[in-house]
């Protein structure tokens, strides 16, 4: 599940650890990087991603704020105006909503409204998605809101190595980045050497996680491992599926995605977010615009249902799983039907 080749000093690390390490290394390298959020200090965050940062860098660099998300992001704007690089933690996806006005009306627009004189290098970390048995308001997939907001970058890792590399790149970016962390991959593990971590990935490049020739699964974040599993299972049905991990929803890597679909001629977009109005529509539309005459079938979507996120005991029915992905692949008109 990771592209990093095993080195002598590697050992299993979780995605949460890799994210923490990325924060640490960014802070060590650049004194203008500040972490702020609810419970990011002594507790180390509810997912322990910021564990140890206050101990190492002090409360002024990694700060427990009052409980107010608009206030956190709003003060981060002011800090960035003064030359700092704030990294904001939102505790859960749905708790980023109070900060939407600051995000949409200021964070996304500040560079543009000041003709480039006032960039805001802010990273907003948002744990997102379901599959962890969380009660309501703890499992939203909110990426559609961020994608629809020009001025933001929207990045999401699916592997331990990318978690490190993409977070480093996001913090280093001179533009605001909404960094979406797939909750249910926090504890996913890969061999990884924290002392010589993976190189910093550039933002905006998708990657082919698994090459294949029959059809392309286009996906990101929490659905990447599911798609890889589906691709394995599909071999039994005689399908050789390619899996593209977008890694960045904005900017969107049209080139990599379109190249894959032109090769395979068929595509399914897979994500947890609700289907209607979700990222899949945009992705399917732009793939179709670019690959129309290569397509043997319409680009299909496998997504969460168009319902509020279910309670823990029912979430398995909502989340796109291997079977639902294979069902969609089966509907890609393998015999000529037109």
């Amino acid at each position: 599940m990771t592209t990093v080749a095993a080195k002598p000093a590697t050992k299993p690390a979780t995605m949460a650890q890799a994210l923490g390490r990325a924060l640490r290394d960014s802070m060590a390298e650049d004194p203008s990087v500040h972490v702020l959020g609810e419970d990011v200090g002594a507790l180390g965050g509810v997912f322990r991603v910021t564990d140890g940062l206050t101990a190492e860098f002090g409360e002024d660099r990694c700060t427990d704020t009052p409980l107010a998300e608009a206030g956190i992001l709003g003060t981060a704007v002011g800090m960035a105006m003064y030359g700092l690089r704030p990294v904001v933690e939102m505790q859960f996806d749905a708790f980023a909503y109070p900060a939407f006005e600051q995000l949409l009306s200021h964070v996304a627009k500040m560079r543009n409204r000041t003709r480039g004189t006032m960039p805001l290098p802010i990273t907003v970390r948002v744990p997102y998605g379901g599959g962890i048995g969380g009660v309501e308001h703890h499992s939203d997939s909110s990426e559609a809101y961020y994608m629809a907001t020009p001025g933001l970058h929207v990045v999401t890792p699916a592997t331990v190595a990318d978690a490190y590399g993409l977070l480093r790149a996001s913090i280093a970016s001179d533009d605001p980045v909404v960094f979406l962390e797939p909750k249910r991959l926090y504890w996913s593990k890969a061999d990884w050497n924290p002392e010589a971590p993976s190189p910093v990935e550039p933002i905006g490049r998708a990657v082919v996680r698994r090459p294949g020739r029959s059809a392309t699964l286009i996906t990101y974040g929490p659905s990447v491992p599911v798609c890889l599993e589906a691709a394995e299972a599909a071999r039994a049905e005689g399908w050789d599926l390619e899996v593209v991990d977008l890694r960045s929803l904005v900017p969107f890597d049209d080139e990599t995605v379109a190249a894959s679909v032109r090769r395979t001629g068929r595509a399914v977009v897979v994500h947890e977010s609700n289907g209607f109005g979700g990222p899949g529509g945009e992705i399917a539309a732009r793939v179709t615009e670019r690959c129309f005459h290569h397509l043997e079938a319409p680009v299909l979507r496998v997504a969460g249902f168009d319902i509020p996120y279910p309670p823990p005991m029912l979430e398995k029915h909502h989340l796109p799983g291997v079977d639902r992905i294979l069902d969609a692949v089966a509907r890609l008109q393998w015999e000529a039907e037109s």
Binding site: E38, L43, D64, A68, P98, F305, I307, M313, D327
Partner: protein
């Protein structure tokens, strides 16, 4: 000498708009939290009320320990315990009449139970079979609110609607010290005061918002001091003193019912357990601090008072304990049964009428489930 008399030829008037709207003095809280137990005021407390409070506190404590135990057995997704805060929870429920409305936060399962809801139904959210386990209108209890402070404007709107109707209904809304930092807290209190809505805001200041101590949450003299900025009275109470809590909340409720407008009540209390069963409190606080509160336990305070007044004998204590045990045993039994769930419910309540899209999706899931059960059936054969 007034400003009018200060000068010779030129005597400006004050800005025309300037007139006091409200006298701030009565809105300011007393410097010390109000207490009844162990003070002279306790003598006036109704013995029946104290007995009732005692039984509810004991039952509440038992409920908390039972629910926490259920998390360990995997029967609850999560439980935020109110151990140590039972006086607040119980008093909030008991201060209300049946027609009134309660707006609990995610920690306030106990208030919901003390108000009379089936102890098992109160846990539906935390068990994970659905988001809310009761009909809010039937019980006049809003859903337990996870997004902090968002329930406060709801309480204000409902109280405002009740005032317009003139039916004497009051809303009581609960929030934590951390929740007071949210914009929704501010907006709710402001609307309430402008509209003179019959609503009582109860802040349980239990010292922490997960790991964040009060000193990082506010620099105010007290949270009750926020009230004057909205033009409503702020009251400061010892939140572990069930009699004081009941008295102050009851006063605020009847003031609201009389048309006197909203009140902000800050209860000073302490969260004895970790934030939830998933939390590790040793990361951010010392046992010594927790221990300092053990002697100020709400059950202990009430027990001592009642003992001193001869209101609690061993028989009564035993009986109360047994009732609480029976409630816990029943809860345990029922929570140990797997709930029967229908996945098709996912599509039943999104809209009054299912959209075409939801009908299609429901059909898809139904087909999947049928295929799966056929497969299971074949395997079984």
């Amino acid at each position: 000498m007034t400003v009018m008399e200060q000068r010779g030829a030129y005597r400006p008037t004050p800005p025309p708009a300037w007139q006091h709207r409200t006298d701030p003095a009565p809105l300011l809280p007393d410097p010390e939290p109000y207490r009844v137990l162990g003070t002279e005021a306790a003598a006036k407390a109704d013995p029946g009320l104290l007995r009732r409070l005692y039984a509810e506190l004991v039952r509440g404590r038992r409920y908390n320990t039972q629910a926490t135990a259920l998390t360990k057995q995997g029967r609850l997704a999560v439980y935020p315990s109110s151990t140590g805060q039972e006086a607040c929870e119980v008093a909030a429920a008991l201060a209300l009449e049946e027609r009134d409305w309660l707006f609990p936060s995610y920690r306030d399962t106990l208030a919901v139970v003390a108000r009379g809801l089936d102890p098992a139904h109160a846990l539906t959210l935390l068990r994970g079979d659905w988001h809310t386990g009761y009909d809010p209108r039937e019980h006049r209890i809003a859903p337990l609110s996870t997004p902090l402070a968002t329930q406060l404007p709801h309480a204000v709107g409902l109280a405002h609607a009740a005032r317009l109707k003139g039916d004497g209904v009051v809303a009581l809304a609960m929030v934590g010290d951390g929740g007071t930092s949210e914009g929704d807290f501010h907006e709710a209190l402001n609307f309430a005061a402008v509209w003179q809505a019959p609503v009582v805001f109860l802040v349980q200041n239990n010292g922490f918002a997960i790991s964040v101590p009060l000193a990082k949450q506010t620099a105010a003299p007290s949270l009750a001091h926020k009230a004057v900025g909205y033009g409503m009275p702020g009251r400061l109470v010892d939140g572990n003193d069930a009699a004081a809590m009941h008295e102050v909340l009851s006063e605020a409720v009847s003031r609201a019912r009389r048309g006197g407008g909203p009140t902000l009540v800050e209860a000073v209390t302490y969260r004895m357990e970790a934030h939830t069963n998933a939390d590790d409190a040793t990361r951010y606080r010392h046992d010594a601090e927790v221990d300092a509160w053990r002697d100020h336990d709400p059950i202990l305070l009430l027990e001592r008072e009642m003992a001193e007044r001869g209101l609690l004998d061993d028989d009564e204590k035993r009986r109360v304990g047994e009732d609480a045990e029976a409630m816990a045993a029943d809860l345990r039994t029922r929570m140990n049964q797997d709930p029967v769930l229908d996945p098709m419910d996912l599509f039943s309540h999104v809209y009054a009428e299912q959209t075409t899209q939801l009908r299609e999706q429901a059909a898809q899931l139904r087909a999947e489930l049928e295929a799966a059960s056929e497969e299971a059936g074949e395997e079984a054969r």
